[in-house]
């Protein structure tokens, strides 16, 4: 499906009020079905995440609850990789949230660019001591929105849900790229990288 700038904007304007508030409600266990049912054209966003037992199940539940389509990603087997390629192929025109270990996200990014726009990359690494370092590079607006959630999310699964909800944001392609480094409490599991990618033509 290809989406023109204007129809995309209309869609976003209609849905952006759901924004990043939605996932927190989800994570707090508040029923979000009523809100989610307000959202139309949910097929316009997609979440890809690494099939990792440590974070996978919760994440799937979360993104399902806010009505996003999702697909797990793996480096390890042809069938999984192949399914991801099919998904990406059919996802033209959708926005994407990606979360996984660095190598996996590197590989996904390699399949996206240059025909998609990666509006934000976040590198989330455990520091010595009990800190988590988040290094963001990309557009200011999503970066700032995400920054506000870092200390509020408990684990990668919750972060994924916040990230996935950002695919509904509206960002300007002309905005300058920036970087932002922040610390938060430690999340369980390994170092991660996240991406927000927008369809070319929308950004």
């Amino acid at each position: 499906m290809s989406i023109t700038l204007s129809s995309r904007r209309t869609f976003l304007q209609a849905t952006v009020r759901g924004g990043a508030a939605l996932p927190l409600l989800t994570s707090l266990g508040v029923a979000t079905n009523a809100i989610a049912s307000d959202l139309t054209e949910t097929e316009n966003s997609l979440c890809l995440f690494e099939a990792d037992a440590a974070m996978g199940a919760d994440m799937a539940a979360g993104v399902r609850q806010i009505g996003l389509a999702y697909q797990t990603v793996t480096l390890d087997d042809a069938a999984g990789w192949s399914a991801m390629l099919d998904t990406l192929e059919s996802a033209r025109g959708r926005s994407l949230a990606v979360l996984g270990r660095p190598a996996t996200v590197f590989a996904v990014r390699g399949m996206l660019e240059p025909t998609w726009r990666v509006v934000l990359e976040g590198r989330h690494g455990r520091q010595v001591g009990s800190q988590m370092r988040h290094e963001f590079a990309g557009l200011d607006a999503p970066m700032k929105q995400l920054a506000g959630w870092l200390d509020r999310v408990r684990d990668p699964a919750q972060y994924a849900v916040v990230l996935a909800s950002m695919t509904r944001g509206e960002f300007s392609a002309d905005a300058e790229r920036k970087t932002l480094d922040l610390n938060s409490h430690v999340w369980p599991g390994s170092d991660l990288v996240s991406l927000l990618a927008w369809p070319k033509g929308v950004v």
Partner: protein, 524 residues
């Protein structure tokens, strides 16, 4: 990121050039946006500043007709192009051009699988066909032919071959398995090599050499043309496949392992590209360094021992596979087993002996049967912001040479503060020794150290009589400079050929140290 211009081209000319390219391929397939598009054409694994390899644009033709017209535009403006196909040449430069300002010629859109010949066992593909694409296609049509893939399944069948790449089945030497090539010269002439030069040829992909000089090799690791099509022989699925792993306890066992395997390999009891893998490679695909050690410098022996015991791996790990009818595999295994059992502490494993969660075993098992995957990319998870460039000297299959190369690299690498992470891919009569030099790509000092180490290794290896089989864009001149027998006669011959087949010097200037006349003096 600031935009750059192709060398020797002024801004107005560049604008006209881009307009001409857009007329050929359409606006959508000329990429110039420095923020959103061109970073994808640089190398994420550089040890040098990214500006040195920043392209001015990228252009993606859809077919040979468009390619022909792109070359015409490039000739008109004398604009350097840098050819890539799938563009995943990471560890050796990724899609990045040799110098800043080149226009990347991206052939990803030329991705047709033109023929699969089940009877004779071959496929004919265009440049943009990845291993994964070919595998998916073969599965879809129910073919009984296997792909032979490099460890990263997103790489291209054609470009991996032109880079002299390797896979892991008996068809792992990709250049050997290539038969029939179509190549476009810089002047736009399309050439069929070998039997393909005969109109209506019935044997283009069956016999490699045709009549007269066999020229296919001239278009591998070179900048003499753009390869637009190749035939690749594919292995028919064998009646049986039994991969195995043998672990060895001591670092010094490398000598004995190599001595034992040579006769087995030369006599074809080990038909595939077998692997002798050092323990840290095995570890890096499944754990992170920090899981075991947070200190600086090389990992201490006590920690290495713990890793080995947790992961059930040896100091060295040999991977091979048996192919054929079961009785044949049984017989061959007896010979292989007895030979390696002579090394004290050798342990033998088949699939049923390794865990389903053993990441290293599982992906090697797939590679031995040509099933593409990307697991090996996990080595970049080994350290935070991990990246690597590969130093790849060729070694004779002798214990003395393997040990000498291993020590030559290990000692310099430890001194420079890096872990040795390497493997030997055993070919027909040689071993490709791959040292995966892993560094933090956000740490400028570490990158500079990695760069210096790499250069030192090139010199030390050359002094000992060892040359590399391919290399990263940053080291092409340096390594080409070591192949300097008889006053660099080979390089001078390459330059003569270059001047004749590409007088405007538009195709990949500097590839493997070969520069067109106009750029020869200004070599970086």
């Amino acid at each position: 990121m600031e935009s750059v211009l192709p060398p020797g081209i002024k801004r107005e000319q560049f604008a006209a050039l881009l307009a001409d390219l857009k007329k050929v391929v359409g606006r959508e397939f000329v990429f110039t946006d420095t923020q959103w598009e061109l970073p994808a054409y640089n190398d994420a694994y550089l040890t040098t500043p990214a500006e040195l390899h920043q392209p001015s644009a990228a252009v993606a033709p859809a077919n040979v007709e468009e390619l022909q017209r792109v070359l015409e535009v490039a000739r008109h403006y004398k604009a350097p192009l840098w050819t890539i196909s799938t563009g995943k040449n990471f560890a050796y430069g990724g899609p990045a051009p040799r110098k800043a300002g080149y226009i990347v010629l991206d052939l990803k859109r030329m991705n047709r699988i033109l023929e699969v010949n089940e009877k004779h066992g071959y496929a004919v593909v265009e440049p943009g066909v990845s291993y994964m694409d070919l595998y998916r296609h073969l599965q879809k049509i129910g073919s009984k032919l296997w792909v032979d893939c490099a460890a990263p399944g997103w790489g291209g069948v054609l470009p991996n071959m032109t880079e002299h790449g390797v896979g892991y089945t008996p068809y792992g030497d990709h250049v050997t398995m290539q038969c029939g090539m179509e190549v476009m010269l810089a002047d736009g002439t399309l050439v069929q090599t070998g039997m393909g030069a005969l109109p209506g040829s019935q044997t283009n992909h069956l016999y490699k050499y045709g009549l007269g000089p066999s020229v296919d090799g001239l278009f591998t690791q070179s900048n003499f043309g753009v390869v637009t099509k190749v035939g690749m022989w594919l292995m028919p699925e064998p009646p049986g496949y039994r991969p195995y792993m043998i672990t060895f306890e001591k670092e010094s066992d490398l000598h004995a392992i190599t001595e034992v395997l040579r006769p087995l390999k030369v006599n074809m009891l080990i038909p595939a590209v077998a692997m002798t893998v050092e323990m840290l490679w095995e570890a890096a695909v499944q754990i992170t360094r920090r899981d075991y050690y947070t200190g600086k410098g090389p990992i201490p022996d006590s920690v290495r021992k713990k890793m080995r015991s947790d992961l059930k791996i040896g100091a060295w790990n040999f991977y091979g596979a048996l192919y054929g009818p079961p009785p044949m595999m049984d017989n061959t295994w007896e010979v292989i087993h007895d030979a390696f059992a002579s090394i004290p502490g050798a342990k033998f494993y088949f699939d049923e002996d390794r865990s389903k969660d053993d990441v290293a075993w599982q992906y090697r098992k797939k590679l031995g049967a040509g099933i593409p995957n990307m697991t090996e990319y996990n080595v970049m998870n080994w350290i935070p912001n991990g990246a690597h460039i590969d130093f790849s000297p060729i070694s004779p299959v002798t214990g003395a040479d393997a040990t000498k190369q291993y020590e030559l690299i290990r000692d310099r690498c430890n001194k420079a503060g890096f872990d040795y992470c390497g493997e030997f891919a055993v070919g027909w009569r040689d071993m490709h020794h791959i040292f995966c030099l892993t560094f933090d790509r956000n740490d400028a000092k570490q990158k500079a150290r990695a760069n210096k180490l790499f250069g030192d290794l090139v010199d030390a290896a050359a002094a000992a009589g060892y040359g590399e089989y391919r290399t990263h864009v940053d080291f092409m001149d340096r390594i080409a400079g070591t192949y300097n027998w008889n006053d660099s006669a080979l390089l001078r011959m390459h330059e003569k050929v270059k001047d004749v087949v590409d007088p405007s010097g538009i195709l990949s200037p500097g590839k493997m140290g070969i520069w067109p006349k106009s750029m020869r003096k200004g070599k970086a």
